[in-house]
Every structure is written in structure tokens, then in C-alpha cells.
């Protein structure tokens, strides 16, 4: 556990030193703030003290930002060979992966915490549904965790950050919209299965304030699969080096 934290701390320092963290947070707050308060179906247009428009836009912003955070994590280590330096220390593959994963989650959590002023202001305008808000934040954190695990996986299969970024977006796109679109044209049992694979369906039910174990299992299994495949892909070095 201590080792995971040491690796996560180094990763966080490198986020902040390279300004990636600052840029990501500023852009995230800028985008979500703009669409929550000023443009589109903003709070004033809807006329309700609700964070639904914020959750909707944050859902999309995180979809693009998370691959940008995770793309360099293992791809850069593979390219520069530092992965060899790291793994010949008393550190397991799993500790490296979890350390990097933890750093990403912490950075996203920081970004989400910084949107709390939105919550405070809106709750000043009218009656805000506390349960719904907490569930909405939980949903954002869970989709971030799911996309981060996909991002770390694509970062582990390549030495090129752009390839890692684009493949994470590509895989993410299926969960984000494609499954839902396919399912809408299908009927019956098979359609239901595809529909239940869609991240959007689970995100919407959760951010509506319905805490269902099905959704939690869904996010949990994506996170597990992503991290598991990362570990498999990292151990493939035995066949190539």
C-alpha cells in the first residue's frame, strides 16, 4: 500500500510540474461552468435549481480529458525504458498500475471538488435535491474511474502517447454512445444486453438519484477489466524484450 502511494505521489507531482493538471482543471471548470451558467440549456433557461445540466456537460468533458491524463502513464515509461528501472525495484506490476491509477483518480476528484462552488451557489437560488447531487457526483467519479482504467490499458499497449489517447477515445466511444445507438435499433433480449453495456444508460440512472447495485456492478466490472488487462499487457514484456 505504501509503495502504491509513493508511485501515486510521484505521478501527481509530475502532473502538477508539467502543468497538465492545472490546464486540465482550468479547462474542465471553464467548460462546465460556461455551459452550466451561460450557454445552452443553462440553469436560468431551465429555471430549476438543479445540477442536471452541469452533470450532463461534465460527463462529456471528462470523456475527453481522462484519456489525455492517462495517455502518457505507461506509454512514456515504455518508450523511455523507465519501466525497467521501476520494475527492478522491489515493486510489483500491480503496484505500479494501481499507483498510476490512484493518481489519476485523485486528480479528477480534486477537479470535481473544485466545482463545489457551483453546488453552493445553486443551492442558494432554490431547493437543491441533496441526494440527487451526491449521486450525480458519485456517477461522475465512477465514469471517470471506468474511463481511467480504459485509458491506462491503452497506454500500456503502446509506446506512443497519441496512439494511447486515440485508442482510449475509440474504446470509450462505444461505451459512451455507440452501444446506446445500436441498442435503440434492436428489440428483445439481445437489445437489452447491448443497452445495459452503455455507460450513458447507467450514468443517467445514477445521476437521477437512483442508487442501484446494477450500476455499481457495471462500473466495478469495467474498472476491474481495464486494470486486469493492463496487468496482462505489462507482463507481455516477457515475450518481447
Amino acid at each position: 500500500m505504501k509503495t502504491i502511494w509513493i508511485i501515486a505521489k510521484r505521478e501527481l507531482n509530475s502532473f502538477f510540474d508539467s502543468l497538465i493538471a492545472i490546464i486540465m482543471i482550468v479547462l474542465f471548470l471553464g467548460f462546465s461552468g460556461f455551459f452550466t451558467w451561460i450557454s445552452g440549456s443553462d440553469v436560468f433557461l431551465v429555471g430549476q435549481a438543479s445540477l442536471r445540466s452541469f452533470f450532463g456537460i461534465a460527463y462529456w468533458t471528462l470523456f475527453f480529458f481522462i484519456p489525455a491524463l492517462t495517455m502518457r502513464m505507461l506509454a512514456e515509461e515504455n518508450r523511455s525504458g523507465t519501466i525497467e528501472m521501476l520494475l527492478t525495484k522491489p515493486v510489483t506490476d500491480r503496484q505500479v498500475i494501481l499507483g498510476k491509477y490512484l493518481a489519476t483518480i485523485i486528480l479528477i476528484a480534486v477537479a470535481l471538488v473544485l466545482t463545489l462552488p457551483y453546488v453552493i451557489t445553486i443551492s442558494g437560488i432554490g431547493n437543491l435535491d441533496a441526494g440527487g447531487t451526491i449521486c450525480g457526483y458519485l456517477a461522475l467519479l465512477l465514469i471517470s474511474a471506468a474511463y481511467a482504467s480504459i485509458g491506462i490499458f491503452t497506454s500500456s499497449i503502446t509506446t506512443n502517447q497519441i496512439v494511447a489517447f486515440l485508442s482510449a477515445l475509440f474504446i470509450g466511444l462505444f461505451f459512451h454512445i455507440i452501444f446506446q445507438i445500436i441498442a435503440s435499433g434492436m428489440q428483445g433480449f439481445f437489445g437489452q444486453i447491448i443497452n445495459s453495456l452503455s455507460m450513458t444508460v447507467h450514468f443517467e440512472s445514477l445521476s437521477r438519484g437512483v442508487l442501484d447495485s446494477k450500476d455499481l456492478i457495471y462500473f466495478g466490472s469495467i474498472i476491474f477489466m481495464g486494470l486486469f488487462l493492463t496487468e496482462v499487457s505489462l507482463s507481455r514484456r516477457n515475450a518481447y524484450y
Partner: protein
């Protein structure tokens, strides 16, 4: 701690990178690992340091199998990988602190270990710079510092002096020599004089297979078969001298090295031959102006063993 390698084999596809290598390195021994590019040196080192797993065979470090508890064994190994990969964006001090924490060094000792390593490797003036800003020589020192930060019993160094200038090479060699008194060191290199200068034992591999194992002197003996003396005798007819030399008892063979200068290569059977030649010159009233033991260069041995 000693290192025992048993029948190590590693395949990449159909190609055997390491082919049934067995090796024993005693505590306090400095082993020079030689071989042409692609011979399997780096692969062997990656297996010893547990970065990749062997297909067959096993490595025992201090009597413990690498397969049983790799995390525990890794604590006793310091490793400088080939090309010395480092986190470029980190300052030297932060990087060394990061490494010492990964080795689970007590947090009260981290500071003093880092300072000590910076002093040992001469990084004091560069310690606050980012690694990306350092010259290659200084980066190499950072690589060595991180390998030694936890005071390991075993050091595995993959081309420790590559990219250094002659002064730095001399310093690093001296450092390795000093370390080698208590630690077990395996180092790989292309620079042959370096092996002679630093290593107790030489291990040459070619195409994954062991081709030679021994001290520099024993390898030389093995390659030559006998000692060779280079002799120059003046004030005499070359052909006559040639014949007289051949007649000496302890001489097995004589070659002309340079007819104009009356230089000969004398292959000798015993140490007696030097006295015999001297006596011969006195008797014939010739002048002996040169007599040097001729050594086969390590380069030649290396080429002979690893070509074809």
C-alpha cells in the same frame, strides 16, 4: 551474497537469446560480461534483476531462488539498466529520494543516504537540476547513484561507462573497484581494456552460449598455447641467428617478425629460454637489444571466440 545461474534459457520466438548458460559469481567478485551486440548479455541481466522471466533454468541469489520471492530478492540488487533510463522531468534529489523510498529505506535515513550518494558520485553541483538538463556523464552518475542508494549486496551494471569521457571512465572504474571489495558485481561492456582494469573474472558469451570463462591471464594462456618472446638481436646474419635460435632447447618455434631489423618471435616451452638466448648471444658475440614478452591482446581473443 553470491549469484548462481543454472541452465538459463530464454527464447524470443524461435530465437534463443540465452542458451543454457550456467554461471557462479562468488561474493566480492567482479565479473566482466563480454560479448558482441545481441549476444544475450542484456537479456541475462534482465533475468537476474527479475525484469523478465526465464523460460528454463533458474537463478539463485544468496541461495534463494528468484522464482520464490522476487520482491525480497530485488531489495538486495542494485541495477543500472542499458541506456540508463531516468525520469527526465525530475530534479536529481527528488529522483534519488523517490528511489530510496521505493527501496523501503527508513524515512529518517533517506536524506542522509541521498546526500551520501550525491557525494560519492560527485553530483553535488548538479543536485537541484532536472535530469533532462544534465550532460550524459552526469546522467550516468545519477544512474549509478540510484543503483547504489540502498547499499545493495549485488550490483548489476549494464555498460556503466558508455558515453563517458576518459576522466569519468577512470573515476567510475575506481568506484566499481572499491565497491567490488564487499559487493558482488556483474558488469557488461564493449570496452575490453575496461574489463582487464576492473574485473576479477571474464565471462564471454556469443549467440546466447558461453564461450569463455576465466581470468584475463588464463584466457590468454588458453588462446596462445605457449608464451611468446619478441627478441631483437643485432650485429649478426639474420639467417644464422634464426638457425641458432631454433637450436636452443627450450624453444619450440621461431618466426621472423621483421627480417630487416633482426626481430624474431620465439615460442618458448619454459622460462629458461630467456637465459638461454642471453647466453647464446654472449657466446656468439651478438648484441641483444630487445626481449619482451609478447601478449595476445584481449581484443584478439574476443574476436577469435565470437567471430563465425
Amino acid at each position: 551474497m553470491d549469484i548462481v545461474i543454472e541452465n538459463l534459457t530464454k527464447k524470443y520466438g524461435n530465437q534463443k537469446a540465452v542458451d543454457n548458460i550456467s554461471l557462479r559469481v562468488a561474493t566480492g567478485e567482479i565479473l566482466g560480461f563480454l560479448g558482441p551486440n545481441g549476444a544475450g548479455k542484456t537479456t541475462t541481466m534482465k533475468i537476474i534483476t527479475n525484469f523478465i522471466a526465464a523460460d528454463e533454468g533458474n537463478v539463485y541469489i544468496g541461495g534463494k531462488s528468484l522464482r520464490d520471492d522476487p520482491q525480497e530478492i530485488k531489495k538486495h540488487i542494485g541495477y543500472l539498466p542499458e541506456n540508463n533510463p531516468l525520469y527526465q522531468e525530475m530534479p536529481v534529489i527528488d529522483y534519488l529520494e523517490f528511489c530510496s523510498k521505493l527501496y523501503n529505506i527508513d524515512s529518517s535515513r533517506v536524506g542522509s543516504r541521498v546526500v551520501e550518494m550525491i557525494r560519492t558520485t560527485g553530483l553535488n553541483s548538479e543536485k537541484h537540476k532536472k535530469i533532462a538538463e544534465l550532460s550524459k556523464g552526469y546522467r550516468q552518475r545519477v544512474g549509478l547513484a540510484q543503483a547504489m542508494i540502498h547499499d545493495p549486496e549485488i550490483l548489476i551494471l549494464d555498460e556503466p561507462t558508455s558515453g563517458l569521457d576518459p576522466n569519468q571512465i577512470a573515476e567510475i572504474r575506481k568506484l566499481i573497484r572499491e565497491l567490488g571489495r564487499e559487493k558482488t558485481v556483474i558488469l557488461s561492456t564493449h570496452i575490453l581494456p575496461e574489463v582487464e582494469a576492473t574485473c576479477d573474472r571474464i565471462f564471454i558469451i556469443n549467440k546466447g552460449k558461453l564461450v569463455a570463462d576465466g581470468t584475463a591471464d588464463s584466457l590468454r594462456k588458453q588462446a596462445q598455447g605457449s608464451d611468446i618472446l619478441r627478441v631483437r638481436i643485432e650485429d649478426g646474419d639474420p639467417n644464422q641467428i634464426f638457425k641458432s635460435l631454433q637450436a636452443v632447447k627450450a624453444v619450440s618455434m621461431v618466426d621472423f617478425a621483421d627480417r630487416q631489423l633482426n626481430r624474431f618471435d620465439v615460442h618458448c616451452k619454459s622460462e629458461e629460454v630467456k637465459r638461454e638466448i642471453f647466453k647464446l648471444c654472449v657466446a656468439k658475440n651478438w648484441v641483444l637489444t630487445e626481449m619482451t614478452p609478447f601478449e595476445t591482446k584481449l581484443e584478439d581473443i574476443f574476436r577469435e571466440l565470437t567471430m563465425n
